[in-house]
C-alpha cells in the first residue's frame, strides 16, 4: 500500500474528510453512517481521545458492529453512560459540551441551512421527509457542524425550501440575533465532489478543495449558487493508507459503506 492508495471509493474519501475535522479530545454527537465512520476514523488515527455520543442517550458506546441507527441494540452493551434524550440533547448538547455535530440533509443551501422536512410547499409537499429529529438542535448548538451532501443542483440550493436546521440562516449576524450560542455553526460541507467551507464574513460556503477526479469548473457548475473559489483551492488529500486500513479492517469490515455508492456518492 502506498501512502495514498488508489483503490478507495468516494464515500471513504468523504468519511476521511469528516475525520480530519475532528480534534483529539472532541466530544462528537453522531448519527449513523458517515458520521460514525468519520468519528471512528479520527479515534483510530489522530484523535484517540475523541468520544462519541448518540442523541438517544448513549455516551461512549462500544458497538460490536456499525450501528444501523442511533438507537441500535449494539450501542447498549459496553457504553459508558446510557440515559435518555434529555441527557445527550439537553445536558450535553444544550449544556454546551458538544464540539462536533454531523448532519446530512436532502437540501443544503449556501448558508448551510438544511432541509429534512419537505421538498416543495410545506402544506402540499412534493415529498415529505422525516423532519428534524435531532438535526435542528445539533445545528443550533454544536460548536462545529459538519454537513454531508450529494453535490448536485437538487441537493444543494441557493435557498432551501424549508429551514429545518439552522446554518447561518439568512447570513451574517442572524445566529447572534436569535440568541444561538456564539462560536457555533456549520464548518464545512463535504460532498462527493468537494469540500466547501464557510466564509467568516459573508457566511457563504466557498470551494476549498475538489476531490481527485473533479475540477473547479465541474464543482462550480454543479453548485446552484454563485460559488466563490478559495485563492488556494486545491485537490482534496486522498485517503491515507492508515485511514483506509482503519476503515476496512477495524470499523467496517463488512463494507457497509458501499451502500453510499448506491445512493449516488460517487
Amino acid at each position: 500500500m502506498s501512502n495514498h492508495p488508489n483503490d478507495y471509493i468516494k464515500p471513504e474519501l468523504m468519511a476521511c474528510c469528516g475525520a480530519r475535522e475532528i480534534r483529539d479530545g472532541d466530544i462528537v454527537v453522531v448519527g449513523t453512517g458517515f458520521p460514525a465512520m468519520s468519528a471512528n476514523i479520527a479515534r483510530y488515527t489522530h484523535a484517540p481521545k475523541a468520544t462519541l455520543m448518540q442523541e438517544s442517550g448513549v455516551f461512549d458506546a462500544r458497538p460490536a458492529r456499525p450501528a444501523l441507527s442511533v438507537g441500535d441494540p449494539c450501542l447498549n452493551p459496553g457504553a459508558a453512560m446510557i440515559g435518555g434524550l434529555t441527557d445527550v440533547m439537553g445536558m450535553f448538547l444544550q449544556g454546551g459540551w458538544v464540539d462536533v455535530g454531523f448532519l446530512a440533509g436532502s437540501q443544503i443551501d449556501k448558508y448551510g441551512n438544511i432541509n429534512t422536512t419537505a421538498i416543495g410547499d410545506y402544506e402540499k409537499p412534493k415529498s415529505r421527509l422525516p423532519g428534524s429529529g435531532g438535526a435542528n438542535p445539533i445545528g443550533a448548538l454544536a460548536k462545529k457542524v459538519l454537513i454531508i451532501a450529494l453535490h448536485n443542483t437538487r441537493s444543494l440550493a441557493e435557498k432551501v425550501d424549508f429551514i429545518t436546521t439552522p446554518g447561518y440562516l439568512d447570513g451574517p449576524g442572524a445566529r447572534e440575533r436569535w440568541g444561538l450560542p456564539t462560536d457555533t455553526g456549520p464548518q464545512v460541507i463535504i460532498t462527493n465532489k468537494a469540500v466547501l467551507r464557510f466564509d467568516a464574513t459573508t457566511k457563504e460556503a466557498y470551494l476549498e478543495s475538489f476531490h481527485p477526479g473533479a475540477s473547479v469548473d465541474e464543482v462550480v457548475k454543479l453548485t446552484p449558487w454563485d460559488l466563490r473559489v478559495s485563492d488556494d483551492v486545491h485537490e482534496t488529500e486522498p485517503p491515507r493508507a492508515e485511514e483506509i486500513r482503519v476503515i476496512r479492517e477495524v470499523i467496517d469490515p463488512h463494507r457497509m459503506i458501499t451502500i453510499y455508492e448506491k445512493r449516488g456518492y460517487v
Binding site: E55, S56, P73, N76, G84, L85, L93, W178
Partner: protein, 311 residues
Amino acid sequence: MGKVMSTADAIQQFVHDGEFLFIGGYVCRPPFAAIHEIIRQKKKDLTITRSNAADDFDMLIGAGCVKRFIATFISLGVYGLARCYRRSIEKGIPHKIELEEYTNLSLPLMLMAGAMGMPFVPVKDMVGTDLMNIKSFMGDGKYKMIESPFDGSPVMLAPALHPDVAIIHVQQADEEGNAQMWGIGGDCKWGANAARKVIVSCERIVSRETIGKDPSRTIVPAFKVVAVTEEPFGAHPGYTPGFYDMDLAYGYLYKEASNTVEGFQAFLDEWVFGVKDRTEYVNHYIQKFGYAQYKKLQAKFDYGYPVSYTY
C-alpha cells in the same frame, strides 16, 4: 380490581377516541402489543407523540387511528421514509393527519416540563428556522418568544405537554406498576410521567421484592400506573435490551408491504386483525418463520454485576 390485565382490556378501558397518547420507545421498546390492539379496536382521532417515531407510528397513521401528531421525526430507519405517513401527508390516504413539529431537544423537554409540573420550558433550538414559522393545531401556543428578564436575550419558551395516556414497554414491572427499564431511554421516562395515566407493558411481571432489590432502576411509580400487561416479545420487531434483538427481516417485510395501500392492508390483516392477541402473533411468527428465526432474535447471555442497597 388489580392492575394486571390483558392488553385488550387495558386499551379498551384506558384509551378513548380523541385522546392524547404518548407512546414510548426509541428503536428499542416500542409497545407493539398495545399498538396492534389500538388498531384492532379501531381507535379514532388520537393525538400521538414521541421523539423519533418509527414503524409503530406509521402503522397507527396508516390504520387511520390518528388525527394529530406532535412530531420531531419519523422514518423506518434503515428502510428510509415512513410510507403510510407520506401517503397521509402527500395524498391524504387514509386521511391527512395534522402535524405540529418540534425537535429531539424541545419535545423531550416539553414532556419533562409536563412531568415536572412546569408550565413551560426554555429551549435553545428551533429559533430562526421554519420550525418556528410553521404553526399548526397548537397555534400561538406552539411556543412563545420572550426577552429574558435576567439579561434581555431572546428566549423561546415551549409549553409543557400532558398526554392523557402514556403507553410504554419496559423490561419488568410489578403488579402495581412500578416499572423498571435499562438501556437506551429516549424520552420514555418523561413522557410516561407527564401523562395522567400510564399503561405499562413489560417483558416480565416481577415481585415487589424484586423491584425493591434495585429501586434506582424504576422510571415510573405505581401510583401513576392504571394497567400492567405482561407481553414477552412485546416490542417486536423493535428490540428490548437484555431480551431480544431487533428484527430487520420483519422490518423489511413491513417496508415492502407498506409501499402500497393494498400491501399495508394485507399486512394488517395478517399480523394485526388476523390474530387476537400477542400470543397468537408470536405463534404466527414462529409458524411462519420457524422457531430457529425466533430463537436467533433472543438476546445472548451476558449479565452484569448485582449491587446492594444495604447499610
